[in-house]
C-alpha cells in the first residue's frame, strides 16, 4: 500500500531459496539478512521505519516446510504452515487447540500469510499459537550452518536458548495426544483482535495429565504447574473423565492466581500493595477462560 515500501524493496538484496538447505546457505552468505516468511509483523516494522534489513531471505518458496508429516507418535509441522492451513478441519482433527488458535489469529488476510514459524520467532506476548505449543510441550527443530538441533519451544521463547546466528526455524514437533484440547481467547471485541488473555488446555490421558498455558498476560506463555497437577489428580482417568463444576471453578481461580500473583509485601515489612483494578479484571478473565477451557475439554 505504501509507496515507501515498494521502493525500499527494490534497492535491497533478496534471496529466494527453494529448499531449507539453500536457505541456510543464503543466510550464511548474507549474515545481515533477515529471513521473512509471511511478513505480517516484519514488513509492518519495515514500513514503519523501525527496521531496515540489509537483505531479505524469503522463505515462501520452501515447499518442504509448508506441510506436516508424522514421526514417532508426533506431528512434525513445517515452520511455513500458514494459520489458514492450520485452521482447516483435517489439521483440527490432529491438533484441535492449535487449529483453534490459528482460526482466532487475526483477520483472513493475516491468517493467509502468517506462519507458525513466524509466530514463534516473533514471540509476541499475544502470539496465539504460543500458549498452545507451551501446553503441548512442543519442541522446535532448528537448521543452521553447524547442523540441526532440537530444543523445547519454551527454551526458545524465554530466551534460555535463543536462535544462533544463521539458524532457521525449520519444524515444530508436536506430540499427538488423541484427546480433547481447547484454546480460548478473550479480546474484548467480536471482530479479530489481539488477545487480552488466552488459555490453551490439553488432556494427556496416556500420562494422566492436564496441561495448561496462559498467553498474553506475560511476555511468554505461563504454565500453572501446581494447578495442572492438582486438577489431574481429581480426574477419574479410567472412567468418564468428568469433574464437578465447583472443581472447574476452583481450577480457574488456581490458574489465575498463579499467573497473576498477589504483590509481595515489601522487604522492609510494609504490607503488600493491593492488586490494581486492571490486574483484578485480568485475573477474573483468566479464571473464566481456564474454567471454560477445562469444562469444554472434559465435556
Amino acid at each position: 500500500m505504501s509507496t515507501y515500501a515498494r521502493q525500499t524493496a527494490q534497492a535491497r538484496n533478496v534471496a529466494l531459496p527453494s529448499s531449507l538447505e539453500e536457505a541456510v546457505a543464503a543466510l550464511a552468505a548474507m549474515p545481515t539478512a533477515v529471513p521473512v516468511a509471511g511478513g505480517t509483523d516484519l514488513m509492518a516494522s519495515v514500513n514503519a521505519g523501525l527496521l531496515r534489513p540489509a537483505g531479505l531471505v524469503g522463505l515462501g518458496r520452501i515447499n518442504e516446510t509448508r506441510g506436516w508429516q508424522y514421526a514417532d507418535g508426533a506431528a512434525l509441522l513445517g515452520a511455513g504452515l500458514t494459520h489458514a492451513r492450520m485452521g482447516r478441519p483435517d489439521f483440527a482433527a490432529l491438533i484441535p487447540a492449535l487449529a483453534a488458535a490459528a482460526r482466532a489469529a487475526g483477520p483472513p488476510q493475516i491468517r493467509n500469510a502468517g506462519t507458525l514459524g513466524g509466530n514463534i520467532v516473533t514471540a509476541a506476548p499475544t502470539g496465539d499459537a504460543l500458549p498452545v505449543l507451551a501446553a503441548l510441550e512442543a519442541s522446535v527443530l532448528l537448521a543452521g550452518p553447524q547442523g540441526n538441533r532440537e530444543l523445547p519451544v519454551s527454551h526458545l521463547l524465554t530466551g534460555m536458548d535463543p536462535l544462533r546466528p544463521g539458524e532457521l526455524l525449520a519444524y515444530v514437533r508436536v506430540p499427538l495426544l488423541h484427546a480433547p484440547q481447547t484454546f480460548l481467547k478473550a479480546t474484548g471485541r467480536t471482530g479479530p483482535g489481539r488477545a487480552t488473555a488466552s488459555v490453551a488446555l490439553v488432556l494427556d490421558p496416556a500420562r494422566r495429565g492436564v496441561r495448561c498455558a496462559v498467553g498474553a498476560v506475560a511476555p511468554v506463555p505461563l504454565r500453572p504447574l501446581e494447578a495442572e497437577r492438582w486438577v489431574a489428580s481429581l480426574i477419574d482417568w479410567d472412567g468418564q473423565r468428568t469433574l464437578a463444576p465447583e472443581a472447574c471453578t476452583a481450577f480457574g481461580e488456581y490458574v489465575a492466581g498463579a499467573c497473576i500473583p498477589d504483590p509481595l509485601p515489601g522487604e522492609d515489612g510494609t504490607p503488600a500493595p493491593e492488586l490494581p483494578p486492571a490486574a483484578i479484571q485480568l485475573r477474573r478473565t483468566v479464571a473464566a477462560l481456564a474454567r471454560r477451557a477445562l469444562g469444554r475439554a472434559l465435556a
Binding site: 515507501y4 514503519a48 479480546t187 483482535g193 479484571q281
Partner: protein, 775 residues
C-alpha cells in the same frame, strides 16, 4: 404524513424505500440512483489523492515532535540539508506569510516555533528526490528540546500556566434557562466520560503541490472545504488567495475535516521553495498524530424530575478537551451546551460548558461533535431516573419528548418537524430480534467472535433506548452559502459546484436534482476546485441543504430559459410544460418536442446561490436562535454481553429517523448504517489513548475500528418524512444523527444486560462485567 408504508425501509430484506416515484423510475428524486464512481472504487481503479503523480516530483517528509510539551531551544537543519538528494528544508522561520492559522481562531503555528504543544506537532518539513531520503533527512534534523510538564487533565487546564498566548480557556458558555431554584421530587446525579474517537479515514492524508509559473501554487489534496483551506494556506504562504488553487482529488473517506494544515501548508511551502512538484503521503501513524479527533469530554449531570418522571430541571457541567489548539472547539461546545438536555421538554436548564486547552492530541470537527458526548450523558441520566422511579426506560422518555413548537434551552423555538415521540414509538414497538434458541449452538455468534471464548450460559441480552438530536449546517451566525452552476447542451446537463463529494453522495444527489428539474437523464458533475465559487465545507449535512438547493435553483433557471420561448410561441405559461426523458410536452399533449431539438445546438447556463436564514450567536447566558435546523433520531440497541469476560456484541440496532424527505433511499440507508457503525465503534472500542500526552499505538492494530463481525444488523424501522419547509426539498441531513445517538443506545443496552452503571465510553470489558454475586 401520507402513505405510512412509503416511509418504512427494511434494507435487511433488500427492499428499497418506495417513495412517490413508481418502481419503473430510474432517475430523478426519490430513486436509488447508484453513484457513478462506485464501480471504479470497488475495482480499485478510482484515483485517490495518494495516487497522484507529476513528472520530476519530490517527496516530502515531516519531522514531528516526540514530546507533548516542550520548549524548542534550537533546530539545526544543516546536516539534513546537506544530505544528497535533499532539496529543501522548511521550518518555522521559512513561513513567509502568517505564522499561525486556524479555522476559527488563528492560534496554530504552521511549524512549532518556540514551543511544542502536542505529541506529533510538525517542526520541519523536507523535500527530497526519494521518500526514504526525505524521511532519513527529517530524522537527521537536530532539535534541542527543553521538555516541559504536559497538562493532560482538562480539569487542571484552568489553573495551569497558559500553554498558549491565547490562554487555556478557549470558550465558556454559562447557559441559564428558567428558574435556578426549581427542584424536583426525584434527583439523580452522574459523572460521564467520553473518550477520544479518531475519524480514522481509511485513506491517510496525502497530496501533491505543483508550483505555477506565476509564482502561485496548486494544491491537489483531498480537502473537504477547499476554499477555507485555500485561504488559510494562502495567508501562510504570503500570497493572494487567487494565486493559490486547491484542486480536490479523490477523497478516501472523511468523518471530519481532512487535509488541513498538516498536509497542504508544508507541501505548498516546499513546492514554492524548490520550484518542483512535491508529493506527500502520510503514514498511518502520522495521520493519527496530526489530524483532529473527537473531543474527549467530562460531563457532570444532575436531573430533577417529578414523581411521574417529568423532567423539572437539568443541571450540567460539560468540559471539552480541545487539545493544543482551538480549531472548531467553540462550535462543538455550542452544540454540547445547547443540546445538553436532549430532545426533551425541560423547563429549567443550567449548563456550564468549557472548552479548554491541554497538551493532548488536537480535537476538532468529527461529525456529531458536542451533540454525541452530551447524548451519552443525558441518556445515561434518563436510565438512572427510570431505575429510580421504577419506570420503563422507553416510557420515561416518552413522557418527556419534545415536539415542534417546544423551546430549546437556548430559548430557540423548534420550528422544524420534531417527531421525537413518533420515532421512539417506532423503535419501541418494533419486533425484538429472536433469541437463537432453536439454532445449532455452534452457529451462534457470541460476544468475543466466532473463535472467541463466549459461553451461552454467561451471555445476557440487554435492550436499551436512546434519543438524540443534532443541528444541521453551521451554527451561530456562520454564513452558510453555496453556489452552483448548471449547463445544458446537446441533451445533457453539467453541474459545476465546489461542494466536495466525500462519499456522502452529493454528486449523486446533484444528478438526481437536475434529472428531476430538467428531465434529462445524462448529468455530469464536474470535479471541485477553488476556481469555482465557494460551496463551503462538506460537514453537518450542509451540501444536501445549501448545495442541493443551489443546484435546484440553477436548474430551474435553466429550465425557464429553455421553455420560455416555447411557452411564448404557444401562448401558455412555462408551468404547463413538462420535461421528461428528454421530451418536452404540454399539459394538453398538443406540443411535443425534444430538449435537443429545442436547444438547437445552443448552450444554456445558469448560476444560483442558496443561503438559508441567518442565525445568532449564543449570548453570555447561552441564549439565541443559533441553529438553522435540527434532525432527530431514536435508536433501540440489543446487545449480548458475556458478563464474566465483559465482551459485548451488538446484535441489532433499530433506527427510526426524522429525514424530512427521502431523496435516494439506498444512499440514505447506507448513510444511516455507516453512522450507526461509527457510533458502535465509539461505544465499544474506538479510543485513541494518550497517557501523559503521548499517543499510544497510533496504528490500526492499536486503534480498533469495527469490522464486519463487530458491526450490528442495522434495521431501519421507520423514516419519518415530515418535510422541513425551510429546507430545499424538505429534506434533512441524515449522516450525523445516528452517530450521535448510537453510542448512548449501546450504553443503555449494556446497562440493562449487566446492571452496571456504564458511565464511560468506550465501554471497556471491566465495565461490562456483572458484579460477582450476579454471575
Amino acid at each position: 404524513m401520507t402513505g405510512p408504508d412509503a416511509a418504512t425501509a427494511t434494507p435487511a430484506v433488500g427492499t428499497p424505500v418506495a417513495t412517490e416515484k413508481t418502481d419503473a423510475a430510474t432517475h430523478g428524486l426519490g430513486v436509488s440512483l447508484p453513484p457513478t464512481d462506485a464501480l471504479a472504487k470497488a475495482q480499485g481503479t478510482y484515483p485517490y489523492a495518494a495516487d497522484l503523480w507529476a513528472e520530476g516530483l519530490l517527496w516530502a517528509a515531516v519531522l514531528r515532535s516526540p514530546h507533548p510539551h516542550a520548549r524548542i531551544v534550537s533546530v539545526d537543519t544543516t546536516e539534513a540539508a546537506a544530505m544528497p538528494g535533499v532539496r529543501a528544508v522548511v521550518t518555522h522561520d521559512d513561513v513567509p506569510g502568517d505564522a499561525t492559522h486556524g479555522r476559527r481562531v488563528a492560534d496554530r503555528p504552521v511549524f512549532a516555533g518556540d514551543t511544542v504543544r502536542h505529541h506529533g506537532e510538525a517542526i520541519a518539513a523536507i523535500a527530497a528526490d526519494h521518500p526514504d531520503t526525505a524521511r532519513l533527512a527529517a530524522a537527521a534534523i537536530q532539535v534541542e528540546y527543553e521538555v516541559l510538564e504536559p497538562v493532560t487533565d482538562p480539569e487542571r487546564a484552568f489553573s495551569a500556566e497558559p500553554l498558549h498566548p491565547d490562554g487555556n480557556l478557549i470558550r465558556h458558555i454559562p447557559l441559564r434557562f428558567g428558574d435556578p431554584d426549581a427542584v424536583g421530587e426525584v434527583v439523580v446525579e452522574g459523572l460521564y466520560r467520553v473518550g477520544r474517537q479518531d475519524p480514522a479515514p481509511i485513506g491517510a492524508e496525502a497530496g501533491l503541490a505543483v508550483p505555477r509559473p506565476d509564482g502561485g501554487v496548486e494544491l491537489y489534496v483531498a480537502s473537504t472545504d477547499p476554499h477555507t483551506d485555500r485561504d488559510l494556506a494562502a495567508a501562510c504562504f504570503g500570497l493572494e488567495p487567487d494565486r493559490v488553487k486547491v484542486v480536490v482529488t479523490g477523497v478516501p473517506g472523511a468523518m471530519g475535516d481532512r487535509e488541513d494544515s498538516g498536509v497542504q501548508i508544508p507541501l505548498g511551502l516546499l513546492a514554492l521553495k524548490t520550484g518542483c512538484p512535491v508529493k506527500f503521503v502520510a503514514t498511518r501513524e502520522e495521520s493519527f498524530l496530526s489530524h483532529s479527533h473527537r473531543h474527549p469530554t467530562l460531563l457532570r449531570y444532575r436531573h430533577h424530575a417529578d414523581a411521574e418522571g417529568r423532567l423539572v430541571k437539568v443541571e450540567a457541567q460539560v468540559l471539552l478537551d480541545a487539545g493544543a489548539y482551538a480549531d472548531t472547539s467553540s462550535d462543538a461546545l455550542a452544540a454540547a451546551v445547547a443540546f445538553a438536555a436532549g430532545p426533551y421538554v425541560v423547563p429549567h436548564v443550567f449548563v456550564e460548558g468549557w472548552a479548554v486547552r491541554t497538551n493532548n492530541p488536537p480535537s476538532g470537527h468529527v461529525r456529531g461533535e458536542g451533540a454525541m458526548q452530551v447524548c451519552a450523558a443525558y441518556e445515561g441520566q434518563m436510565d438512572k431516573l427510570a431505575a429510580k422511579l421504577g419506570l420503563d426506560p422507553a416510557e420515561i422518555r416518552m413522557r418527556n419528548v419534545m415536539a415542534t413548537g417546544d423551546l430549546l434551552p437556548t430559548g430557540q423555538s423548534v420550528t422544524c418537524p420534531a417527531p421525537v415521540g413518533e420515532l421512539l414509538k417506532a423503535v419501541r414497538d418494533a419486533d425484538l430480534p429472536p433469541l437463537p434458541v432453536d439454532d445449532d449452538e455452534s452457529q451462534w455468534l457470541l460476544p468475543g467472535g466466532p473463535e472467541g471464548a463466549g459461553e451461552p450460559g454467561a451471555v445476557r441480552r440487554g435492550v436499551g433506548y436512546a434519543l438524540g438530536m443534532v443541528h444541521m449546517l453551521g451554527a451561530e451566525g456562520t454564513d452558510e452559502v453555496s453556489t452552483a452552476t448548471v449547463r445544458i447542451h446537446d441533451g445533457q446537463a453539467t453541474v459545476i459546484c465546489a461542494a466536495v463529494e466525500t462519499g456522502q453522495g452529493f454528486t449523486t444527489l446533484a444528478r438526481q436534482i437536475v434529472q428531476e428539474v430538467l428531465g434529462v437523464e445524462e448529468v455530469r458533475v464536474l470535479p471541485s476546485d477553488t476556481d469555482q465559487p465557494p460551496a463551503g465545507a462538506s460537514a453537518r449535512g450542509r451540501h444536501t441543504w445549501v448545495s442541493g438547493g443551489a443546484v435546484e435553483r440553477a436548474a430551474k433557471m435553466v429550465r425557464t430559459q429553455l421553455l420560455q420561448p416555447l411557452a411564448a410561441k404557444f401562448g401558455m405559461s412555462v408551468e404547463l410544460l413538462t420535461i421528461a426523458d428528454g421530451k418536452i410536452t404540454s399539459y394538453d399533449g398538443v406540443l411535443s418536442t425534444t430538449v435537443e431539438e429545442e436547444l438547437a445546438g445552443k448552450e444554456l447556463w445558469a448560476t444560483a446561490q442558496c443561503r438559508p436564514h441567518p442565525t445568532d450567536e449564543l449570548d453570555d447566558t447561552g441564549q439565541g436562535d443559533a441553529f438553522v435546523g435540527l434532525a432527530f433520531c431514536a435508536v433501540r440497541a440489543v446487545v449480548d454481553v458475556d458478563i464474566e469476560l465483559g465482551s459485548v456484541r451488538v446484535v441489532e440496532m433499530a433506527v427510526a429517523q426524522d429525514v424530512g424527505r427521502v431523496l435516494n433511499p439506498r444512499q440514505l440507508a447506507v448513510r444511516i448504517e455507516a453512522g450507526v457503525t461509527q457510533g458502535v465503534g465509539m461505544a465499544l472500542m474506538e479510543d485513541l489513548r494518550a497517557p501523559r500526552g503521548i499517543v499510544k499505538r497510533p496504528t490500526l492494530t492499536g486503534y480498533s475500528l469495527p469490522t464486519a463481525l463487530d458491526a450490528p444488523d442495522v434495521r431501519i424501522v421507520k423514516l419519518v418524512e415530515e418535510r422541513d419547509v425551510v429546507a430545499p426539498f424538505g429534506a434533512k441531513a441524515v449522516s450525523a444523527v445516528p452517530v450521535v445517538v448510537s453510542p448512548a443506545a449501546v450504553a443503555a443496552a449494556v446497562r440493562a444486560a449487566t446492571g452496571r452503571p456504564v458511565s464511560r465510553l468506550p465501554i471497556r470489558p471491566q465495565h461490562a462485567v456483572a458484579k460477582p454475586q450476579q454471575v
